[in-house]
């Protein structure tokens, strides 16, 4: 009964795919004026009116909306905003997790001529106050009580806010509603005002130009205050068009929208490309059900950061460790075959008949079920970006028959700078320049690009704008990299400013080394030091899931992260990983000086709440250097233990402190093979 309903989505999709897998929706529309997202919405409602545009799982069932319904919803919301007094040029902040109603509020804001500004939903009040105040938000559209509370907390500091609308009414009954109401009420008022305000709204939509602002996204930069990146309709639509062509995205595709709405990637995938091609955006029930929802939707176009793929691989490996011997044996046999054959099959290389047959067999018994379990049964185009992905991890998914590729991008570029074409996928490059993008490498090694996606400006920050984008439109990425001569693919080494020199003048690329360390499942985070010093050293964070599982299997008792991190066998394990990393570093003469001489395992996990990581989980080097100065000193003064005390912030915002005595270890260094050069 109920079960059937859940299953029907897949069935109907299968049927639909047969007769409706239409090519791109481009030809018919080129004559129309598609100068804005609202214009794209109108086109989709006309051409794909009865196709599903959005789905959201609620009360255990996938609810869906067609493009025609979405247009009606968005229009009602926009009229409601006009009723509330929204004017062109206003900024409208949007806070919450991925939900159709919130996506619609982006487009509704654009319709009235306002600028939508999505905020990270896990932002603490302080960050939120800064952004709201900086953009001068007049309206806030919040998902639920939790987000409304945060806004109310900072409202005395953010005087621009006129009105708050919320989506989920739970717990909101007792709030003062004089400057607040429910989003559905905003829509209802909008609908009622169609007669009176409809013509005005139509005029505002018609007035939207190609170079008007489409959206403003705050970057959670690794240093300093967030900057508001202003992206125009041209930036978003041109980029969406080019990249949809690149991967053949079309109206039959499905995505799962689960990454933060404030992140440029989500904006491009779930709004830019979705509105350009008309594909369907699916929203999970909540953050915890994402995996189940992914499996049920089984998207054809999927994006996830490397961290996600790492975590998933860890889960699969743990599950296999716990499985019976037969299953384990089958899995291992099948995977070793897949690693050999799978990527070649995917790249269309020549593969023998026997290998093909064995792969087909493996697909039936192992790869298919694993792909299904991972919710990647139908992934046609998968991307990972943001950070380097471990080659082992990357190859694992390729081997399974998932077309996982890498791209390199930035908020300032409306995401795309380079990406990998099908058939040219490798773990260590980020691909060729995306269509319409020019890339050049400066003498310093820094990567520059120019494209239709290049942002307009940093809002109210002309200095930063000028410092990043030159008069000819070239933008500095801040990353150091080079083009491989043979393939024309770009390789990124590190942040340009982080690529430094050691005291002896050798190249020091900390992030490159950190990534190598993080490719070991047992290591979650690493921070390498060495700029201006004789030798390199490192802080290590162990991965509590992977190491905890190891501990459980080996009957190692531990009460906390700290205790597990200090365990001698864990120390030994990490030492092995560090020395293994040193060996691979030594193979590359340029980077041999980056070998880790000494390391320690930190007594706490680096945490965004403590300011040690950014919200996107990038290491904040400077803050860590200040905070753990005593530990860094110990890494360099030759002592074998160090006692320290660190302040921590708990999830509820309370503060506490941890005391610990840490062991500092020496790691073996591989001497650089001088003879190697001669031999070659």
């Amino acid at each position: 009964m109920y079960k059937l309903k859940e299953g029907t989505i897949k069935a109907t999709r299968a049927i639909r795919d047969v007769w409706e897998d239409l090519p791109l929706a481009t030809a018919a529309t080129s004559s129309e004026e598609l100068m804005s997202i609202p214009a794209l919405l109108a086109r989709n409602a006309r051409h794909h009116g009865q196709r599903t545009a959005y789905r959201e799982k609620e009360y255990g069932i996938w609810q869906s909306w067609t493009w025609a319904e979405v247009e009606a919803e968005v229009r009602a919301m926009a009229l409601g905003l006009v009723v509330l007094g929204a004017k062109p040029g206003d900024h409208i902040a949007i806070i919450g997790r991925n939900r159709p109603a919130l996506y619609w509020s982006f487009v509704a804001a654009q319709m009235v001529g306002a600028v939508p500004v999505p905020l990270y939903q896990d932002a603490v009040a302080e960050e939120m106050a800064y952004v709201l105040d900086h953009c001068g938000a007049r309206f806030v559209i919040a998902e639920d009580q939790e987000q409304v509370d945060k806004v109310l907390d900072v409202q005395d500091r953010v005087l621009s806010i006129d009105h708050i609308a919320y989506h989920d009414p739970r717990g909101m009954r007792k709030y003062d509603h004089s400057h607040m109401n429910r989003l559905s009420d905003v829509k209802a008022e909008g609908r009622a005002a169609e007669q009176r305000l409809g013509p005005e709204l139509d005029a505002r939509i018609a007035a939207l130009g190609y170079d008007d602002t489409c959206v403003m996204l705050y970057t959670s930069g690794t240093t300093g205050r967030p900057k508001g990146v202003v992206l125009s309709n041209r930036n978003i639509i041109e980029t969406s068009k080019n990249t949809s062509d690149f991967d053949g995205l079309n109206v039959g595709d499905e995505v799962l929208a689960y990454l933060p709405m404030a992140w440029v990637g989500d904006f491009i995938f779930s709004i830019g490309q979705a509105y350009w091609t008309g594909f369907c955006v699916n929203c999970p029930e909540n953050a915890d059900t994402m995996q189940d929802d992914l499996r049920e939707i089984s998207p054809s176009y999927f994006f996830a950061p490397p961290r996600y793929f790492e975590g998933l691989l860890t889960q699969i490996s743990i599950r296999m460790e716990d499985a019976g011997w037969l299953k384990r044996w089958m899995y291992q046999r099948a995977m070793s075959h897949a690693r050999r054959v799978g990527p070649r099959l995917m790249d269309g290389a020549a593969v023998g008949l026997v290998d093909r047959l064995a792969y087909a067999l493996g697909d039936f018994f192992v790869y298919g079920p694993v792909r299904n379990r991972a919710g990647m049964m139908n992934v046609r185009v998968g991307y990972t970006a943001g950070e380097a992905i471990g080659p082992e991890i990357f190859e694992f998914y390729r081997a399974l028959g998932i077309n996982l590729k890498q791209l390199y991008g930035q908020t300032e570029a409306a995401v795309f700078i380079t990406q990998q074409p099908d058939g040219e996928v490798r773990a260590d490059t980020v691909g060729v320049p995306s269509p319409g993008v020019e890339v050049r490498i400066a003498d310093s090694g820094e990567v520059f690009y120019r494209s239709p996606g290049v942002f307009q400006e940093y809002y109210k920050n002309p200095d930063s704008t000028a410092g990043t984008k030159d008069a000819e439109g070239w933008v500095a990425t801040g990353d150091a990299g080079f083009f491989e001569e043979a393939t024309g693919h770009l390789r990124i080494i590190d942040r340009a400013k982080d690529v430094g020199k050691t005291a002896s003048g050798s190249l020091f690329a900390p992030k490159y080394v950190e990534n190598k360390l993080k490719f070991f499942p047992n290591i979650l985070e690493a921070v390498v030091f060495g700029a201006g010093r004789e030798t390199c050293t490192a802080f290590i964070n162990i991965d509590l899931t992977a190491v905890g599982n190891w501990a459980e299997r080996n009957n190692v008792a531990y009460g906390s992260y700290q205790e597990l991190a200090a365990h001698p066998e864990v120390m030994a394990m990490v030492q092995d990983h560090v020395e293994e990393t040193n060996r691979t570093l030594a193979e590359d003469t340029m980077l041999a000086a980056c070998q880790i001489h000494r390391f320690l395992i930190l007594h706490k996990e680096l945490d965004a709440d403590d300011g040690e990581l950014t919200r996107t989980r990038k290491v904040r080097r400077r803050i860590i250097e200040e905070k753990y100065a005593d530990l860094i000193a110990a890494l360099y003064d030759g002592t074998s233990t160090v006692t320290t005390e660190t302040e921590v912030t708990y999830e509820d915002g309370r503060k506490g402190s941890i005391r610990a005595t840490l062991e500092v270890r020496d790691a073996a260094i591989v001497p650089v093979a001088g003879a190697k050069l001669a031999a070659e």
Binding site: M1, Y2, K57, E58, Y59, G60, I61, R170, G171, R173, K174, E285, N286, D288, T289, D292, E651, D652
Partner: protein, 273 residues
């Protein structure tokens, strides 16, 4: 015995408190020669959160077991929604609209969260066994209806991600939440919570208090809860009964109870724990 509040009034935070749902009149319960509860009277009014507190062994759990029909008191009367309740079996009490949770979590461990909460709808069986066995139309419609009600509960308690997980595998805090869900699924007129925060850490306690307040607020459910720890309970209850050694030693608002000398004695003067 109680303050003479009007039949129906509105609290400071805008909730409506109605006439008594349940009245316990001169209840005495003995096990063999031991008197567990001695001549206790109190009432629970519609829409309120009523706490029964007391040190360990004060007779709180016995009181809950009487309300829910596990024990039949030797003396006294129980009045439910305006009429006197004859001695009843637990399942009959449940069908009258009284749902409960247990101190030591009593879930169906082998069943999924969803199935556990579905059992909460047992009291609402309407179609006959025969049509259920044959899976006929009406039973099917009912099943969907119940599932919808249960999904609302799941959504309310934010446990969508464990919908299909056997509850035996869940951590303690979530099990407590599922148990609350099962009780809520019955759409009870009176919800009994037996030490809902026992064994929880501070954060889990705060979450649970939030849910209890939300249940009361969103659905207007009348709640009676027992606790031996005064802390959190005093913050969320409208009125509190204090028991000690089977006797009632205090009854009133949290502030009244806190200043009651006998209560202070029971908690501070003589240690029972």
């Amino acid at each position: 015995m109680n303050e003479l509040a009007p039949d129906t009034y509105t609290t400071e935070d805008g909730r409506t408190i109605g006439p008594p749902v349940l009245e316990m009149r001169n209840i005495t319960l003995r096990f063999g020669g031991v008197t567990a509860i001695k001549d206790i009277s109190f009432d629970i009014r519609e829409g309120e959160i009523r706490a029964i507190i007391g040190p360990n062994g004060a007779g709180k759990s016995s009181m809950l077991n009487i309300i829910n029909g596990f024990y039949i008191p030797q003396e006294g009367e129980i009045w439910f929604r305006g009429s006197r309740r004859p001695p009843m079996k637990p399942y009959e009490v449940a069908r009258q609209g009284i749902a409960r949770t247990f101190q030591n979590i009593a879930l169906f461990r082998g069943m999924s969260t969803l199935d556990n909460i579905m059992t909460g709808r047992t009291t609402m069986i309407r179609s006959s066994l025969f049509s259920q066995a044959l899976w006929l139309g009406r039973a099917e419609r009912e099943e969907i209806e119940h599932r919808e009600a249960v999904e609302k509960v799941i959504d309310f308690l934010e446990i969508q991600h464990i919908r299909k997980t056997p509850v035996g595998r869940l951590p303690y805090g979530l099990q407590k939440r599922v148990e609350l869900g099962r009780a809520l699924a019955a759409e009870p007129k009176l919800l009994l919570l037996d030490e809902p925060m026992a064994g929880m850490n501070v954060e889990e306690k705060e979450d649970m208090s939030r849910f209890i307040l939300d249940v009361n607020d969103e659905f207007g459910t009348t709640i009676a809860l027992i606790e031996h720890d005064m802390g959190v309970v005093m913050d969320i209850s409208d009125r509190v009964v204090v028991m000690d050694y089977g006797r009632k030693i205090g009854d009133g608002t949290p502030d009244e109870v806190r200043t009651n000398p006998e209560v202070i004695d029971a908690y501070l003067g003589v240690s029972h724990d």
